[in-house]
């Protein structure tokens, strides 16, 4: 028992608190792949360079088990027993909201590569940062673009799961429609394990042009299956989060084609590129080599979180282990940082509702197309493909 051993100073040590078991294990695994790939690549490149000498990166994991209080204990374990220099954060807002106060108490820097809920940033935690733009931005911007597809939609049915992330998503979708002057026929929140035929029946009787849905993968699958069973087909479904995951595609077993989604990053995307991985395509290749599957934006954002630390540490110029003052300094550096990565440009807001959230990376609408349901960017951006719209199967 007792505290962790005094660690040597030859490596930067990062604690990762994420859900490796429990309901959120799927998302937790995605973040883990992102963090791992960053670590592997940077160590192959010799490590983080500080004042001419390089230091390798070490990751140590603690399982939050999808439970906030376990997450808080895990965070404490990272800081007091493992004595890490900084923390890479969990998946899901509930766990993040329990972990963040521990970071405040111990004044330890903390970047999440996956948390998207606006709730986190409203709390104005000084030590917590996030590389994924909040869903309020992602869902809204993607929705607005989808609403602009031709023929322009005149009405939309918004449904969602009554969960913190999902509700924020659905309400962002609704805001987008209201912004564009499109009639919102309903804003219909449901428990995640409800029977979605009720939503589908209500929607069908309203006969909207588009159906927007905020939720996690399980609810998308149930919703779309119910729509199929009841012969409900609007011009398109826009679901967020996770249409570009194997979980979603497997869950629907081939019926996923045509579904719209939102993302901030795709393997095929054009980004300035920068540190560690030259381009999105480079990153995607490295990820496929390592894990045998395509990365999604959560994984990319998790790797980007590592890259942000990397640049911040270089700027800090202190060798590991970091002292308390160095950790505080690292936080101030993060506040002002500007990093160019394969994932996009990353900066953190310094005030407002999105305090410490990276709102720079721009969101894009995507659609699953083709035989293997590849996600392609649609909409108005330069590189966008032609959308299949109104969706025909």
């Amino acid at each position: 028992l007792g505290g962790g051993s005094d660690r040597g100073g030859d490596k930067f040590k990062f604690g990762v608190v994420t859900s490796l078991s429990g309901d959120l294990r799927f998302g937790g695994e995605v973040t883990r792949r992102g963090y791992d790939l960053w670590k592997k690549t940077i160590n192959e490149n010799g490590g983080i360079e500080v004042d001419g000498s390089s230091y390798e990166v070490e990751l140590t994991y603690a399982d939050a088990k999808s439970d906030p209080s376990t997450g808080a204990d895990a965070a404490s374990q990272m800081i007091t027993s493992e004595k890490v220099d900084a923390v890479l954060g969990p998946y899901s807002s509930n766990v993040t909201l329990a972990v963040a106060p521990i970071m405040e108490k111990n004044q330890t820097p903390h970047i999440s590569g996956s948390a998207e809920s606006p709730r986190i940033w409203e709390e104005q935690y000084k030590h917590t940062f996030g590389t994924v733009p909040t869903v309020t931005l992602i869902a809204r911007q993607a929705a607005e673009e989808i609403l602009s597809l031709d023929p322009t939609a005149e009405s939309v049915y918004v449904s969602g799961v009554n969960g913190p992330f999902s509700k924020a998503t659905a309400s962002a979708m609704r805001d987008a429609a209201e912004n564009k002057g499109v009639e919102v026929l309903a804003y219909d929140l449901n428990p995640s394990d409800t029977d979605w035929t009720s939503v589908v029946s209500s929607a069908k009787s309203e006969d909207p042009d588009l159906h927007f849905h905020g939720g996690h993968i399980g609810s998308h699958v149930s919703l779309l299956k119910a729509a199929d069973q009841l012969n409900y087909d609007p011009n398109g479904f826009f679901c967020h989060y996770g249409v570009n995951t194997s979980d979603f595609k497997d869950g629907l077993g081939g019926d996923a084609s045509g579904t719209f989604g939102a993302t901030v990053w795709l393997p095929s995307i054009e980004r300035t590129g920068g540190k560690l991985f030259g381009s999105a395509a480079d990153y995607a290749k490295a990820a496929r080599d390592e894990f045998d599957q395509s990365p999604d934006y959560t994984q990319a954002a998790s790797s980007a979180a590592g890259i942000v630390y990397q640049q911040a540490l270089e700027e800090l110029g202190a060798a590991p282990p970091l002292s308390d003052t160095e950790q505080s300094k690292l936080v101030s550096i993060l506040e002002d940082i500007e990093v160019q990565t394969f994932y996009g440009d990353v900066t953190f807001d310094k005030e407002g509702d999105f305090y410490h959230n990276n709102t720079t990376t721009s969101p894009l609408p995507v659609q699953l197309q083709g035989d293997d349901d590849e996600a392609v960017v649609v909409g108005s951006s330069a590189s966008a493909s032609e959308a299949n719209y109104p969706v025909s199967e």
């Binding site: 028992l1 007792g2 505290g3 962790g4 490796l20 078991s21 429990g22 294990r25 994991y61 603690a62 399982d63 088990k65 439970d67 906030p68 209080s69 376990t70 808080a72 204990d73 404490s76 374990q77 800081i79 007091t80 027993s81 509930n94 909201l97 329990a98 106060p101 405040e104 108490k105 709730r119 709390e123 009554n162 969960g163 913190p164 509700k167 428990p191």
Partner: protein, 350 residues
Amino acid sequence: MGTENDLTVRDRFQALLGRDDAHLWLFGIGAVVLAVLPFALSTFWTRIALGALMWIGLAQSWNMIGGYAGYLDFGHGAYFGVGAFVTGIVMVELELPFVAGLLIAGVFCAVLAYVVGVPTLRLSGAYFAIATWAFAEAIKELALILEITGGTYGMTFPTGPGTSGIPLVGWPDEMFFYYLMMVLTLGTIALAYFLFEHSEFGFRVKAIRDHEDAAQSLGIDATKIKRRVYVISCVIAALFGGANAYYITFIHPNDVLAPIITDQMIIMALLGGLGTIGGPIIGGVLIFLLNRLSSLFLGNTTIYLPLIGLLIMVTVLFAPSGVIGILRGEVGREDVKQNLRELAEKFDIL
């Protein structure tokens, strides 16, 4: 070694338990050890210890209504959650300190438990179990749609100096919560001991558990006694809920009102030994540590889930009186063999 050589650890334990003042001694020694413990532990381990203390207390609170009174409360966790939210609402909306929040949560849950108890305790057996379960689920769903609980966005507690309402401690750190949980848990254990093991009240509660009609015919006011036990045990759960919420600083209905909270209390009480003082202590520590520390030993896998499942099944099969039964020598090698033989007979299905 001397002549005590022949005594096994179990014999000694039994000898100790056999003494009239054994309980007092155990309690005293335990309290002293607990009081100095955090000075020997790192913050992380202090957190683990305080978590274990909380679960011991929660398991004991369930044991009061479930083990001693025999009313299988499948909605006990509702009070843990309601305690958490009431504490939070008092702190956030009324901007009162934590201590006030906790007290108000206790009183609120006492009233709630009384009001709920009057009709619900008329049911028994599976009916009571299912009714309390449905009640707890309804409470959870309510918390998810109400405005004042933060709905599905959850609730964040105010932290920082002054929010606790206790002048001695500034910023509420792990030590503060450790001693808070210690006091609550030791208090719960002492209360359970005096109520159920050291008074005629205890016999009456058990009489109701074993045969309610007969108890009534002997002048025992079953309705009142059951209600009393129910209210006490619910208030204890609420106090732990409030304390835990302030400690975690963020609560969400899906977490503090999750059915798994109740399930854990039940499993802990049962695995340790129902209707005993020691059972929930042993069960609480065992299951909590297994849950929380499994990743230290087993790596990052979910294998601890089937393992806990197996552990529960094996305990019920071979040590129906729980781990405390093993310690008391009720479950020896012979009993296990006997059990196996009887079990084998039941496989005669052709």
